[in-house]
């Protein structure tokens, strides 16, 4: 906090006005999709402040749509499984690499950092996934994203800050590495784990690329990819989409249904992130300081 004068100055007034305007500009678009998701008017005219003819039929349409619901559950599944894999895989590796006496440590570090600067490229990555038999499989969502160098850096710095006396005490009691990790390290670094889990979960939930390009199966569609198709179709793209025509055929206020789909897709994130705020703020600092 800066050292401030006691009386409100003109600067304060302007500052408040600017920040209130900014908050409005940021929040209003979300309010806008929220009210229009309840818009019962069967035209393409959106409401700006309050839904005309408020209705919940848009949501009933969304929840009755089999392909949308399937996409929703695939999204939930990949978020849960994908986040678990990423957190466990990255954290175990981070713990091992935070120990200076790990053999081949330097080699592992180099091995893990190089792909953050150079990758095979879109097509070789796709061909590789196809060779591994992952194309058109659920695992393509959760396995390739299992390790993240950035998360590892954040976790490593958290592990290093754990007083080594804690580990020593467990060692004297005869605990092994695994026991120390799960019983000692994990409980005291829970905030960092929460941060990483939030990042990974948001990434999984919003990921659309793998769905669009690594699978053609209807049963593997995710909410993010379906939304991407719907929105691009609206923008007049040349991509054909069966999903959207399904929605249009439902014929009940497609605009309202589209907004309801967006609300369904953003709500889970909006319910979680404010509670984890103080954790991820800390996480991003460590991450950016360490590069």
């Amino acid at each position: 906090m800066a050292y401030r004068p006691k009386r409100a100055t003109t600067f304060d007034v302007f500052n408040y006005i600017i920040l209130i305007l900014l908050t409005f500009v940021i929040v209003y678009p979300f309010y806008y999709i929220l009210i229009n998701s309840f818009n019962g008017l069967l035209t393409h005219r959106p409401s700006f402040f309050w839904p005309e003819l408020p209705t919940t039929r848009t949501y009933q349409t969304v929840f009755a749509d089999k392909s949308l619901m399937s996409a929703f559950f695939v999204s939930v599944a990949r978020t849960v499984v994908g986040t678990a894999i990423t957190v466990v895989e990255t954290a175990l590796c981070a713990y091992a690499l935070s120990k200076p006496y790990l053999r081949f440590r330097g080699f592992y570090m180099a091995l893990l950092i190089i792909p953050t600067f150079f990758n095979g490229g879109t097509i070789p990555v796709y061909l590789n996934l196809r060779n591994l038999g992952l194309v058109d499989s659920f695992w393509v969502y959760v396995l390739p994203s299992g390790f993240s160098f950035f998360y590892m850096v954040v976790l490593m710095s958290a592990f290093r800050n754990v007083p080594s006396s804690l580990e020593d005490a467990a060692l004297i009691d005869g605990a092994g590495c695994w026991k120390i990790f799960f019983r000692i390290i994990l409980p005291v670094t829970i905030p960092t784990f929460a941060t990483i889990a939030l990042y990974a979960a948001v990434g999984q939930w919003n990921q659309w690329f793998d769905t669009m390009y690594y699978t053609k199966k209807d049963s593997l569609q995710t909410l993010a990819a379906v939304l991407m198709r719907i929105i691009r179709e609206n923008l007049g793209t040349d991509m054909a989409s069966d999903m959207m025509s399904d929605l249009e055929n439902n014929s009940y206020n497609p605009e309202g249904v589209k907004f309801a789909t967006m609300i369904v897709s953003v709500t889970p994130i909006l319910c979680i992130y404010p509670f984890l705020q103080k954790y991820f703020v800390k996480g991003i600092m460590i991450g950016s300081i360490k590069g």
Partner: protein, 318 residues
């Protein structure tokens, strides 16, 4: 001294114990295997940039491309699209660098000057909101808000007389790119401010008191204390951004959402071009060649950025 002793103790027990060394190796194993499978194996596939890849023959058996394997690179440089795509990539990256890097710093300064911490908390929480939302949803929201016939922005601007008739912002060449820049600011300003607020919190309060004793007002404090403390972080982040110029990153998602057949010429960047030629036109080798060209320039830029960063701020990635 004490901690050093303890570290040594741990090392002597764990480091020399084959059982615990094995346990640690096992912990690192899944990540190592994952990186080899999903990051290193595809690197070998880059070779198809120099071949005429045939799906049925596989990578090894496919014939080499003409001109000593450089056929696809030459093809790319010969197409008129190449120049426009590269220029678009540079243009988008340049605009994003100039216009989206400093607003988070400004927001952090303004937030820090607030008198009520409750209000500050609220603004902060709201400002993080767009960061968590996918570009698809952003596209949906703004497509609707900017719609020429029914969008709020057109209706407001025409009713207060700023414009005579409504404009299709998302296909008008004058507005498309500025709107994309504004949306990037909208999405990233709050999230980006976190790191600057972290720096501000660490500033010594006595410095502000010193300015006060010298008779300095609000602006003097911002000018002579807050900003000088934020500049090194800004420079570091800016330089690191420079290293990402060729790789679209967030710009790729954004362009993917907002581009269509009519406005493609304006915002088509290397990443979208690679995706289109590869997946939609099925030119695997060509697309990989363009991708390789992009990656090589990217690595050069990154190394340069890192070197400049090391010289300028004594901070670097490696």
């Amino acid at each position: 001294m004490k901690t050093k002793k303890r570290k040594a103790y741990q090392e002597s027990v764990l480091g020399r114990n084959p059982k615990s060394q094995l346990a640690l190796q096992l912990m690192a194993l899944p990540a190592i295997v994952s990186v080899i499978l999903f990051s290193y194996l595809p690197m070998y596939g880059v070779i198809i940039a120099f071949k005429n890849y045939n799906i049925f023959k596989g990578i090894m058996a496919s014939p080499w491309a003409r001109n000593n394997g450089f056929e696809h690179f030459i093809d790319f440089f010969k197409t008129p699209a190449a120049l426009s795509v590269v220029l678009n990539t540079l243009k988008m990256a340049g605009l994003m660098l100039v216009f989206t890097t400093w607003p988070p710093m400004l927001l952090a300064i303004l937030l820090n000057e607030l008198r009520s911490s409750k209000f500050m908390k609220t603004v902060q929480t709201c400002s993080y909101l767009p960061h968590f939302i996918s570009w698809a949803v952003c596209g949906g929201i703004f497509y609707s808000l900017l719609n020429p016939t029914s969008g709020a922005i057109n209706l407001i601007l025409t009713s207060i007389g700023v414009m005579d008739k409504s404009i299709n912002f998302l296909s008008d060449p004058r507005f498309l790119v500025p709107i994309m820049v504004l949306l990037r600011i909208w999405k990233g300003i709050g999230w980006g401010s976190i790191i600057y607020l972290g720096v501000i919190v660490s500033i010594d309060q006595q410095l502000y008191e010193a300015v006060e004793i010298d008779g300095g007002q609000r602006f003097a404090k911002i000018r002579y204390v807050t900003i000088p403390h934020l500049v090194p972080t800004f420079v570091l982040l800016f330089i690191l951004e420079c290293g990402k110029i060729m790789s679209g990153g967030d710009t790729f998602n954004q362009v993917y959402v907002f581009s269509n057949v009519t406005n493609r010429g304006l915002i088509d960047i290397l990443d979208t071009y690679i995706l289109r030629t590869g997946f939609e036109n099925g030119r695997y080798s060509y697309s990989t060649a363009v991708n390789l060209f992009k990656s090589v320039i990217n690595v050069i830029l990154l190394l340069t950025a890192n070197w400049v960063s090391k010289k300028a701020t004594e901070t670097s990635l490696f």
